[in-house]
Amino acid sequence: MQQIVNFLIKYRNFLLFAFLLFLSLVFTVQSHSYHRSKFVNSANFLSGGIFTGIDNISSYFDLKIHNEQLVAENSKLRQLLLNTRDSISQEIDTTSFDSRFQITTAKVINNNYSHKDNFLTLKAGRNYGIKQDLGVITSKGIVGIVDRVSPGYATVMSILNSNSQINAKLKKSNHFGILVWKGGDPNLVDFIDVQSKAPVKQGDTIVTGGKSTIFPEGIGIGTIAEYALDPTENFYSIKVQLFNDMTNVGHVYVIENLDREEIQTLEQETRDEQ
């Protein structure tokens, strides 16, 4: 017993070091798997508050660009509104109006793009109806998926994150694939597992696919920058130039698919029966 106590006293610094290192490695491993970074994330009162303070100052620098983006989007929406083909359905009847998606706007108060796993922080949380696994987009294209939520803030797993896998398709031919990011250039992402039969051409548009219940179908992602067949010649691996400038994201839309639970329950039941 005496020896154990002596050992503990003699090596107390090493034991403290080993304990703290172990703790931080546990946090690190957790952060590398999807939805597991429970304890250390920036969706909390303190970091959210500080990021809001910083953003209050730094948002002025990007004001011009964000205004231009808003004007561009407004003119696009106005064009759609004035050119509706069907003049009868212009009046929205709330009883029959098909509102599958609910949209909330949010402000980005923190954004990374230089790491391997990047996150954004939004100034909107549970109190604004934000939940885990909702899609986040801008007027130009997709941004990411909501990860952690606190009452006032939320973190978003950016598409520039090694854990991010998003279902996407070629706009022209509906061939599906998966959108991933392997680090490096924040403007280029990889579009993999596309059938070699698909008609791929440089400059073609990639949009979100309908398979996922997170994003609506047909949200813009980017254009094909370069492509090559993989060694087995069964699949293409494609580099996609994003529509969004991920290094400058100001205001975003958070999209909730109201049918999501219904779809998931149905799919679960189908799987259980088999």
């Binding site: 107390r12 610094n13 090493f14 403290l16 070091f17 703290l20 290192l21 703790l23 931080s24 490695l25 546990v26 946090f27 690190t28 491993v29 957790q30 952060s31 590398h32 970074s37 250390v40 994330n41 920036s42 909390n44 303190l46 970091s47 500080i50 990021f51 910083i54 923190n110 990374n112 793009y113 230089s114 790491h115 391997k116 796993d117 996150f119 922080t121 973190t155 680090g183 250039d185 924040p186 290094t247």
Partner: protein, 168 residues
């Protein structure tokens, strides 16, 4: 004594705030960020309170982690260099360290530079290894360690010189 405690608490807060508001957002050439918050561990008073240094380094790393959504990468790197610090000091300053006669901010320039670079490059190597979590990216890890480390070293040496002229 209380003056020294107060100065260290203040240094902790200022360095963390500067790191998250300013240095995390530099993104020089798209991926180079300096991490001068390690200055806290470099300048921590040299004495017998190793447990305190380990614990505060852990807190320092964890605060930076919380703001950059990086799990415990900074904490792991900080705790490691805090643990290794006495041996690095001893190998560089030799007998002067044994008599507690060393102060990093007033040490000779060459010794100070050597000490800071060993600490900073060790910290960055651990940090970026944990970030990529994949040893096939070894070139990426080394490249990032080298460039970010040089940037951090430059800033740290600058800050030490700037903020220690009074005590000379």
């Amino acid at each position: 004594m209380s003056n020294s405690i107060l100065r260290n608490i203040l240094r902790f807060i200022v360095l963390v705030l500067a790191q998250i508001t300013l240095f995390n957002k530099i993104d020089f050439l798209g991926y180079i960020n300096p991490y001068p918050y390690v200055l806290f561990i470099l300048l921590f008073p040299i004495g017998d309170n190793r447990a305190l240094l380990l614990f505060t380094s852990f807190l320092l790393g964890l605060s930076v982690d919380m703001f950059s959504n990086s799990g415990g990468m900074h904490a792991a790197a900080c705790v490691t260099i805090a643990y290794l610090r006495p041996w690095i000091l001893q190998s560089i300053f030799g007998i002067a360290y044994e008599y507690n006669a060393v102060k990093v901010s007033t040490a000779a320039y060459g010794e100070r530079l050597l000490f800071a670079s060993i600490m900073i490059f060790t910290h960055h190597l651990i940090l970026f290894s944990l970030e990529s979590f994949n040893f096939s990216d070894i070139i990426y890890i080394l490249k990032k360690t080298l460039f970010s480390g040089a940037f951090t070293l430059l800033l740290c040496m600058l800050f030490i010189t700037l903020f220690s002229f009074k005590r000379k």
